[in-house]
Amino acid sequence: MLRKQAPSVELPDADVIRQYLRTQDPAYFSILYRKYAGKVYGKCLSILKEEELARDAMQEIFMKILLNLSAFGEKSMFSTWIYSITYNYCIDMIRRKKKEQTLFTDDIERAPDVAEEEIPDELLLEMDVKQLKVVLAILPEGDRIILLMKYQDDKSIKEIAETLKKTESAIKMKIKRAKQKAVEIFKQKFPVS
């Protein structure tokens, strides 16, 4: 089956979904695919690190979106919904691969360290893209995911907590530690000459 000729008019996502569900015309789903495939692929690649894995994951994710489209609620934005599916799918993949449930290195209880330093966002956000790729590739999966959710998707602490099934205070702590690790890696890999 070849690519579908998408209607040329620009419609809001909710209208495209309604049209697809009403007509079952793949051209409408194609609009969604072409709009979000790049972003979904990028997230999969950032999390899973291997291009082939990321491509397979992306196709599976769109398959799930296609099959569950009628269950999408307009309570949230469509992008929020598909990114949640993306994160959940990647987390599930990592867990299956590791054959254990621990996603974060600090899931094994660790006493909070009062001396832990708060890293300003600027230190993290002002890396260049190549540096960020290096840092993300070294960070543990859980830390990668949590930083992408917060700084790429602007998800709230509450939303991250819901997706990762953790408490909001645990998420705050994990973000703080993920930032610290990211900046440590950055400093090690790219020392100021």
Binding site: M1, R3, Q59, K75, L132, K165
Partner: protein
């Protein structure tokens, strides 16, 4: 307008968003446009529809109106149950 410009500036200064744009750009890039090379997006979409056809997937129409069905969507645990069943 000024606020939009500020948001744009902030996005440009955020390397996570720059990374997202870089991956997207790569997705739309043609290695050799003159030879009619497809973008990665085109190739992936062709493969997607081929997989849909191979699996003979047919998406059920909602049995009632979309709004009512939509309200059945629930976050978190239940979403996982639905999606990853």
């Amino acid at each position: 307008m000024k606020q939009q410009a500020q948001v744009k500036k902030e996005k440009q200064a955020n390397c996570f968003k720059q990374l997202e744009r870089a991956y997207e750009k790569a997705f739309f890039k043609k290695e050799n446009a003159r030879k009619g090379e497809l973008t990665l997006l085109d190739k992936m979409e062709d493969a997607f529809w081929a997989a849909v056809e191979a699996k003979d997937l047919s998406v059920k129409l909602p049995d009632s109106d979309f709004q009512r069905k939509s309200s059945l969507f629930i976050k978190g645990e239940q979403m996982n149950k639905n999606i990853f069943a």
